[in-house]
Symmetry: C2
Subunit: 118 residues, 2 copies
């Protein structure tokens, strides 16, 4: 999980996707489910490429038997301001690859920070 | 944590609050922070008393060093329908009492199910 988060923070989508299963199921719980590595790439790209800097501050993380749960503050620098999202993440890991990834957060808390909104 | 969730499902607020610290910090992340056992009681009462049945389905739960993270489907039966909230919870436990409790969820997903809304 550390390597995955490191890759996200480096905005290295290739390195991050090397650590997920081909048929990864990725759900932003308030939005939708995306399946498969290519679709996940498309979903992640705008935020990762659009940000000038990315930080995922891991506040707590506990793992057991192929399940990793964490509490995070995900931060994306857009121009001169930071968008901050308080997130709790659920990851299923099998054969050293992330096969399921669900992020719980409040959608309005996120969208209200986007440029041109609110 | 099992005893706490059992008490919640029995809608036994006294039994649930016996398991939390006097100065419990309880945060519904998209809403607000409530501090202290009496204020938490007031915050929980409407939903627990208003529901005719409560189920917290624990989908995943991992604990380590005084931190418990879980993924839940919280269900509250109101009249003839169920309100369902997808939640990820963070609990800090010290001296066998819950001292911090944070629930991550999408507020709109919850409020849109309330009677008279949407």
């Amino acid at each position: 999980m550390t390597a995955f988060i490191d890759a996200i923070e480096r905005q290295d989508l290739d390195a991050a996707l090397d650590l997920v299963a081909q048929d990864l199921e990725y759900e932003n719980v308030p939005i939708s489910v995306v399946r498969g590595k290519d679709n996940v790439r498309q979903a992640l790209e705008p935020l990762l490429v659009g940000a000038s800097e990315v930080q995922w501050q891991v506040l707590a993380q506990v793992a057991s038997k192929g399940v990793v749960l964490n509490e995070r503050l995900d931060r994306f620098r857009m121009g001169d301001h930071w968008i901050e999202v308080r997130v709790a993440g659920v990851f299923h890991v099998s054969d050293d690859r992330i096969s399921v990834w669900r992020d719980y957060f409040d959608l309005e808390q996120f969208t209200s920070q986007l440029p041109g909104v609110g």
